[in-house]
Amino acid sequence: MKAYFALFSARFRMLLQYRAAAIAGFGTQLAFGLILVMILEAFYRSGNAEQPLTQAQAVTYTWLGQAFLGMLPYTANPDPEVRDMIRSGAVAYELALPLDLYTLWYARAIASRSAPTLLRCFPLLFVAYLFLGMTLPPSLASGAAFLVSLLAALFLVSAFSVLITVSLMWTVSGDGIARLLPSLVFLCCGLIIPLPLFPDWAQGILNILPFRGMADAPFRLYLGHLPPGDVFAIVAHQLLWTLAFVLLGKWLVGLGSRRLVVQGG
């Protein structure tokens, strides 16, 4: 356990060095957030029926989405170094380590999903709160519930992104299926539009799927759209899916490393 934690912390500290990338990401996400907010506001001005999410809530939801975007596996290649290892054959060295390959990759994934986001989210949240209509959580309890479920979301997202990485053991090039997953995740976790705005009949399916635990559920706890008391059920849902992804990932890594042909040279 100590070895994995050391790996995590080394990777975490290394990723915190990329401050210039964080600043660049900040500008891009600010621009995208602004466009998305303007589009949503226009829709709210057009429809006059009561909506399941108020306009102010939708705006805050959008900013939260941009701030924590980096946490989600938004590329087909969540860990480029592992992909290169699989391509170049260096993965053989990893297999030779007296460590469990899956846990190793999982520890790396947690670091890659958290450190860059930690760098980026604060400036964006700060600017959005001061100038762009973002609001604070309605109560301290909502804020605390948000933080707890955000942490659980980190474990869930990391377990999922390891699955994408593991799929590279079969496809190598990483085209096709790995490219579909990120946009599917984005749609189903609330990054494209807030989940409550989907048709009512879709809510049941979205509630069961793992993806809402990656962004939507924490965001709605923040807004008070879900009462803080719901945090227990939500975290249970998140951790249950995390467990499922971890077990599936472990099984796949075992299967993959048995049939792995190391590309020599």
């Binding site: 995208f32 602004l34 998305l36 057009s46 749609l187």
Partner: protein, 270 residues
Amino acid sequence: MKDLRDNFRLYLLCIALSLRGQMQYRASFFLYSLGQFVAIGIEFIGLWALFHRFGNLKGWTLAEVALLYGMANVAFSIADTFGRGFDTFSGLVKNGEFDRLLTRPRPTTLMVAAREFPAMRIGRLLQGAIVLVWAAIALQVHWTIPKIFLLVGAIIGGACTFIGLFVLQATLCFWTIESLEIVNAVTYGGTLTAQYPMTIYRPWFRYFFTFVIPLACLNYIPVSALLDRQATLGVPEAFPYFAPFIGVLFLLMSLRVWKFGERKYCSTGS
């Protein structure tokens, strides 16, 4: 004139070579295109859901916005295919490879553009085209020659504008070496912006995408004319028909800026 024809032939040759190379990996090509097709299609579900919830967008229906959406995506995918070499240009400056291009007796723009031709972008093109066709059928547009000219012209002009943006992005590398991620806010952000009627945005933002980067002239204004809607930006009636030329002009201007930047280029030496 002979030079121009010669260069053009060379460009086509490079593209043909690149295509043949890509076709060696047929499965990869197919999967990538399919992946992009579905990925972009998933985005459209978000648009559909918003209309399902709110009914209309400032008086625009889903089919009308879908027309904007389809045109923006088709134009962008064309630009992404032809201008990809400029999008990844920073690599050339960083490793000094650009010095080698400078020694060749051909225009640098030609060589940079011919360097990459990712035909896989056909996934986005196809998705945009399908949405476009669906929108045109749903809206029962009465097609006349001027309207076809508007549609095709706006797409070509839009593609030219996006290529121009890629060229400007690459030009910046002459000074910054590193590619500036913030430019994505204008290219990818521009595609997102162009998918909706310009009137929904705040005035400063609208002016930016009309007068600084003329995207509105190539999407919102021609589409309004196509749908016989009054474009609320207060332009003369004949203006939409000139719009495609604005895109071409923007591209020519970007190439001018490129020439200027090239003269300021200072090799990294690596």
